[in-house]
Symmetry: D2
Subunit: 160 residues, 4 copies
């Protein structure tokens, strides 16, 4: 594997709805479009995973880790474990905030927490946990350690 | 809510790959098409949820419960909890079997187990648990009990 | 059908990347996430339809038409015709602008033009045309005319 | 690019619903699951593209062309043009047949026709055209000619 080096650390994203709150949640706003819904007029249960992925990629990017660049350098971060609880449904046209927070790193496993809430935080629609693992794309094997740049950034995220 | 009655109990599906094994797993065969994959050439982690849903609907149908009919009668069965573990990736063009089994009913909650395996059962790609809850579509509320016909069928599934 | 009335005309959306250019294209920015891609590392050809829908819904909303509200009032606008040409592929991590413009109304048919371009407009990735038709949700039939409020707004869009 | 050679010509698929009719349409049966639908209880307009792709891959496979193998050999067949007309909607739980037929080859462009119909062929839900182009994956460029094995098979398909 080519040695993955940390992409430039300046935040690239200027998407205005994105921000990090004082309690360290990264916020990614969404709106429910027709293709997100199912026959019930509610968000289909698998759709949330697309938003959770988008929030995670944007969170990393806003902290200087360009996911596409990481992949090109030979490091991938597939999901190996996911648990999601559906508290209240989101319906067509509704707005919500996908909140994500890197919880901890155990070796090359990266654990993320999620909650999807109404804009006023009164309603919680979904809570979830996702675990990623760092793998060497060429060898198709789990890395023995995180690429240094990635580890530095994630450690800082962890501290808040 | 209109009283949901059990749809005719003859199995409607004649999809030939579908069958129930002696240990009570319902089997739904899949092949990986381009739209199932992501940049890594592997199945994107959310794609598995579409297959799990398809297997569940076909399992119910082969036991005489037509999901669309149930919905028309006013009863919905949304997913309220889901946990999935990714053991080995499936890649473009690969075949696999999605196995599902109704595990237990607790009130109006229906618990399903899943494993996605290679045709020879040597490889396990994914294991998962999914919980559904029965709701009254008109009222948008959780039902106090399962519609009688549904309960009868599911109880039989449970016994194996 | 309940008579669809025009939702309040103030623009509700405050998504900062959204804007209308002088030549009347509504602009909806996107970034390519893993779930948008396929095995080739490029955007899967069907993914573009989700972005085109999102751009259309946001364009309507920014002009005072809340699509979810319209649906609740009994008017739906399903796609009845779509043509899309793929000029250059978008790859994982890339940014682009989905541009949409209401082209013309013929009776209850609404025609939209699309182009998906690089931020600097040097590259055109996709061009497309989409036709919607207004239907009465209760009757499941094509409306004889557009709801008055919708027609007024769309006519203004058409004028630029 | 490694020279793509024709995969073994015996038909690999044994999916029982798949067959080729006397007028040369390849038939791929589908059933509408919840994740295929949108708020209207109908199939979301982009879902049809997943079925059209599945039908195309199965049609090629039943004629001895394993798409995944072709990709591994360095030849890709991305969609470059697509037009689709929605005649009647499919709803949750409905069954239909996706029919596809290789229409003609013009250089390295492969044109396919589609119609999605009810089992009794009384209803036509969708008609569509899709054009693929053969590209060299390594160079990212359009091939000057189709890989010989592929050309032979497709020419036979064309003759019917």
């Amino acid at each position: 594997m080519k040695k993955p080096q940390l992409p430039p650390t300046e935040a690239i994203s200027s998407h205005p709805g994105l921000k990090t709150t004082t309690d360290n949640w990264f916020e990614y706003p969404i709106r429910v479009y027709p293709h997100h819904t199912d026959y019930a007029g509610r968000v289909w249960h698998g759709t949330y995973l697309t938003w959770m992925e988008a929030a995670r990629v944007e969170c990393l990017l806003s902290n200087g880790i360009d996911f596409a660049e990481l992949v090109n350098l030979g490091c991938d971060l597939p999901v190996i474990d996911l648990a999601i609880r559906y508290h209240q449904p989101l319906a067509l046209g509704m707005n919500a905030i996908v909140k994500t927070r890197m919880k901890e790193i155990t070796g090359v496993r990266i654990h993320w927490d999620y909650k999807i809430q109404s804009l006023d935080t009164e309603q919680t629609y979904v809570t979830a946990r996702v675990t990623l693992v760092a793998i060497d794309r060429d060898k198709g094997k789990i890395l023995r350690q995180l690429p240094p740049g990635v580890k530095t950034v994630l450690s800082q995220l962890q501290k808040g």
